[in-house]
Symmetry: C2
Subunit: 200 residues, 2 copies
Amino acid sequence: MTGTPAADGRPHALRADAQRNRARILDAARTAVDEQGTQASLRDIARRAGVGMGTLYRHFPDREALLEELLGQRFDLLAGRAAALEASRSPEDALVEWLGEFTAGAGAYRGLAASMMATLNDESSSLHASCLAMRQAATRLLSNAQDAGHIRSDADGTDLFALVNAVTWIVDQAPSIAARRQHLLSLIVDGLKRQPAAGP
Amino acid sequence: MTGTPAADGRPHALRADAQRNRARILDAARTAVDEQGTQASLRDIARRAGVGMGTLYRHFPDREALLEELLGQRFDLLAGRAAALEASRSPEDALVEWLGEFTAGAGAYRGLAASMMATLNDESSSLHASCLAMRQAATRLLSNAQDAGHIRSDADGTDLFALVNAVTWIVDQAPSIAARRQHLLSLIVDGLKRQPAAGP
DNA sequence: ACCTGAACACCGTTCAAGT
DNA sequence: ACCTGAACACCGTTCAAGT
């Protein structure tokens, strides 16, 4: 009975040709996003994959569904890193290190910051869930550092996400600024540190 | 002899119809940018202006030439504000106030941040000159505040411009974040303030 | 069940033909 | 000198027709 229609009403597994097309589309998308950023032409992706436009749309109803496959992994990874750092480092180190990893990796995906912002308040976006989980992990790092007294208490997870995304964006606007990524990030992170109270 | 071709080899004044078309295009562009941001459709602008595409291109060879007309005024105005604040306020107040005015006004032009970044290293851009002048004015405010000991000395004009543009960008990505403009800006500006040395 | 590719409504940019 | 609008090479999205 292998490969016969399921009798339990659950969705069928993909037909072999469909499965192959799906994989091809994802491969092509990876290459295209690598070259052109998250705004890569969908037509071009279909062309590279050697499938018709309809096939691309059948597998991925919109651009974000396609991106979710590529970026979801990254989000999950970064959420995992947050958890690992939380367990192994001081609250302050964990936060600073995570922010560094976040912005460093983002350079590989031009347009990532815009895609992430678009997903923020759009619960229907395919990227919403994995992005939210990552943000929550980052927010925990922030709270820990705040509880330990290292970070000013009037900044919240949304502020942190906004600022770090803003850096991500600015950094891929111009190569001359990309070189200053670390410096810009530290200007912001230093600024978030609780200003020491004046002398005794 | 009024209206006859100039004999001195200098460029002629625009013909009356050309002058009218130019004005119409700018009017249409203002409306379109207002509604759709700096990425407004050029075709749409020509349509609204009631001119052919060729006419639009004749007057403005590319999008930036058109934007220069709209944004150049704004840049000049902000450069002027910087000079005025420099004369009338303390170094720290002048800087903080100027940054507030810069980001507050930017909300009126969606896409402005991206257009400004594009112009940064592109000397052929029509926006280059007026944008540069504004940046230099802002850099003076920064230097003054640094000389007065209010701002950390390892931030330069490029950093300041990058950060303030990053805020401008993030703020028009989502209305929920636009509401936090002032707060985000003050997180950054506070952060740039020189950390007070530890007690005696 | 899945695929193809033409069709549609848009772009930006160029240019021959008109006045 | 200036204008028009068709032409070209691209998009994203949809959908009838095929297997």
